[in-house]
């Protein structure tokens, strides 16, 4: 779950990290009030779940209260990087002596938390040459100790007070990273402002699987309606751009099914993993979500292990009887309780294929008719 910048900064601030003074506004009036209260030149930043807001016109540096009002009015309701802006962060403009980069993430290869730091911040980290990037791995069972922080500060070449600030900051950020179950905690730019380090931006992504133990965090809904419905039913759903609705049981085989469709020049409308132990009810919901996508054909690819073929067949029949299925359905159904499932399908006017590629080829043929 991605957090908005203002939420991220609130967490940082709670842990004692220096951030620019500021507040979130939902209207030009509120923005003006905050700017007046701050009594300093301000920055207005659109709050969307994406970077590169500057290029999209989502950041403004008004030089007066009138401009603050005008710019807020312009940005609120506008579309930046594909997102409608409904909130602004209004904060003091800080002195920028240098822009650093700092992030904590998890490195899949080593299975360890990884600190990424650079003296060259402010740009996309992908653009920073490897020589300017410090990578430092943390033993998760020991944590980031002050000597780790000292080593990172040394590798960056920081000195004196800024080194000290960095050493404290790293320890606090790692604490946040672990305590809040973040997957990514990125501060870019981390601004050298006089003798201090100030987090001028904050990008925090919380591990979805750990949300259950963070009732204190705000909830940010990023899913579409269909994704939400799927999630609630224990399914994994991603909308794509084609016209063949797909359902399979397992992430790998679902990907494989999409690949097979593309191999036959078909265009999948979605990724839908109806999981391992989804059962009847989940499968019914999965099919209903597929129906809502206005595709030309539905492809169901089941290799039943935990999933029982009769459950899938029954679910299909249930949906057909309840709300009707207006598009052709191509089914591949093998595995646990295969015979029972096939019998149910046959009794209800469906035919099934034995293999995945035959079924995929048939679905493409129908879609391209």
């Amino acid at each position: 779950m991605k957090l908005f910048e203002y939420m991220g900064k609130e967490i940082l601030s709670d842990y004692g990290v220096r951030v620019p003074r500021g507040k979130v506004a939902s209207s030009p009036g509120e923005a003006v009030k905050i700017a007046s209260y701050l009594d300093s030149p301000v920055v207005i930043k659109s709050q969307i779940l994406s970077g590169k807001r500057g290029k999209g016109g989502g950041i403004a540096f008004p030089s007066s209260i009138v401009e603050t009002e005008n710019e807020s009015a312009r940005i609120l309701g506008s579309i930046v990087q594909g997102f409608i802006v409904d909130k602004l962060l209004v904060e003091e403009k800080i002195q920028i002596d240098r822009e650093l980069y700092l992030a904590i993430t998890v490195d899949s290869t080593s299975g360890k938390p990884l600190i990424l730091a650079s003296l060259h911040g402010g740009v996309d980290i992908e653009e920073v040459p490897d020589d300017y990037l410090v990578r430092y791995y943390i033993d998760p069972l020991i944590g980031l100790k002050s000597y780790d922080a000292r080593e990172i500060a040394r590798k960056l070449g920081l000195k004196d007070n800024i080194a000290k600030e960095m050493i404290s900051l790293l320890q606090v950020l790692y604490k946040i990273f672990r305590e809040k179950d973040a997957e990514l905690l990125e501060i870019n730019p981390l601004v050298v402002s006089g003798d201090s380090l100030v987090a001028a931006d904050a990008k925090i992504t919380i591990d979805d699987e750990a949300l259950f133990r963070h009732p204190e965090l705000p909830y940010v809904e990023e899913k579409t309606n269909a994704e939400k419905r799927a999630h609630d039913a224990g399914l994994s759903y991603v909308r794509l751009e084609g016209d063949i609705a797909v359902m399979a049981n397992g992430a790998g085989i679902t990907m494989g099914t999409l690949d097979t469709l593309e191999y036959f020049n078909g265009r999948p409308a979605n990724f839908m993993d109806a999981g391992g132990g989804t059962g009847m009810a989940g499968t019914v919901e999965a099919i209903k979500i597929l129906l809502d996508s206005d595709s030309k054909v539905i492809l169901i690819n089941i290799f039943g292990g935990i999933t029982r073929c009769d459950d899938v067949a029954n679910a299909l029949v249930k949906v057909k009887n309840e709300i009707g299925i207006p598009v052709p359905v191509v089914i591949r159904l093998v595995g646990t309780n295969e015979e029972i499932g096939l019998k149910i399908l046959e009794d209800n006017g469906f035919t099934a294929y034995k293999t995945m590629h035959e079924a995929a080829a048939q679905a493409v043929a129908i879609a391209n008719r």
């Binding site: 299975g111 179950d181 790998g252 990907m255 935990i306």
Partner: protein, 288 residues
């Protein structure tokens, strides 16, 4: 022979009295796996079809040696259970549980390394040494003994491919699931190493997917260290960047972990890469 487990491997099931745990424990028993106990706090003393249930892993250890633990523990408690098994000195931990928080996953893997234990998962289907032992959730009737080693990141896709192999009379020595989470225990390289050394394995099928750099590392290892032929299938060719495809690891981020990159690396290492799952048996026939 087989890798990691065989007919003598003594197994406990953690979370043995839950629905999933109980069902699969009995399936494993039916397959022939040496189940020496189930762990279920508060249920110690009861029996499930003659399998003794214990409150703790150490209680089970008082009555039998234990070589492997299989976890069906709900995600919020899985870390504690995995630590319990590792701390008790069990050297192979198979974590079936999905949706374990990432922080818990990395702690488990780190603790296992510290104590010299191997982990499959989290979010693995498990491991099968055909005809000898099964630890995990694959259906019992897919596997036939034979010379093909299979190592994979995801479950049903593996059944699909194993099913194809079996239909083509290509039996499997051992089928290993690494797990679909972003951070997992054993890697392709760890398992390839064992297949290379296993005298009953003649060729290997690697079932990968987009995301991460495990397949690239595997390609590097194959190129430099393997004599046995490897056939691969990589899922996710059609997946758009930035979208997580079900598995926590299956995502192309910042241009890394792409299908093309993986396939190229594998091909450069002499691996035959199948376009579609059903092509795998044919490619295996060619290299055997």
């Amino acid at each position: 022979m087989a890798i990691l487990i065989n007919e003598e491997t003594r197994v406990i099931v953690q979370g043995a009295t839950g629905n999933q745990g109980k069902f699969h424990m009995l399936q494993m028993l039916a397959y022939g796996t040496q189940i020496v106990g189930g762990i279920s706090p508060g249920k110690g003393g009861m029996k499930i079809e003659n399998i003794p249930i214990y409150d703790t892993v150490l209680a089970a250890k008082e009555e039998s040696e234990i070589d492997a633990a299989c976890l069906f523990i709900p995600a919020p408690f899985a870390k504690d259970a995995a630590f319990e098994a590792i701390d008790a000195g069990i050297k192979l931990i198979i974590i079936i549980t999905e949706h374990i928080p990432l922080n818990d996953g990395i702690d488990i893997i780190a603790f296992a390394r510290q104590k010299g234990a191997k982990v499959l998962g989290p979010n693995t289907f498990g491991i099968v040494s055909s005809g000898k032992s099964k630890i995990g959730i694959p259906p019992n009737n897919f596997f036939i003994p034979g010379p093909i080693g299979v190592v994979a990141r995801s479950g049903t896709l593996t059944y699909e491919i194993v099913g194809n192999l079996t239909d083509n009379k290509l039996g499997q020595s051992t089928v290993v699931g690494l797990g679909g989470d972003r951070v997992v225990g054993l890697s392709f390289v760890d398992v390839l190493e064992k297949f290379e050394a296993d005298e009953d394995t003649e060729a290997i099928v690697l079932v990968g997917e987009i995301g991460g750099d495990q397949e690239e590392s595997a390609a590097n290892y194959i190129k430099n260290h393997m004599t046995k032929p490897v056939v691969a299938y990589i899922a996710g060719k059609s997946a758009p960047p930035g979208k997580r495809m079900g598995h926590a690891g299956a995502i192309i981020e910042r241009g890394k972990g792409t299908y093309e990159g993986k396939v190229k690396a594998l091909q450069m290492a002499g691996v035959s890469v199948a376009n579609l799952p059903f092509e795998v048996p044919g490619l295996i026939r060619k290299v055997l």
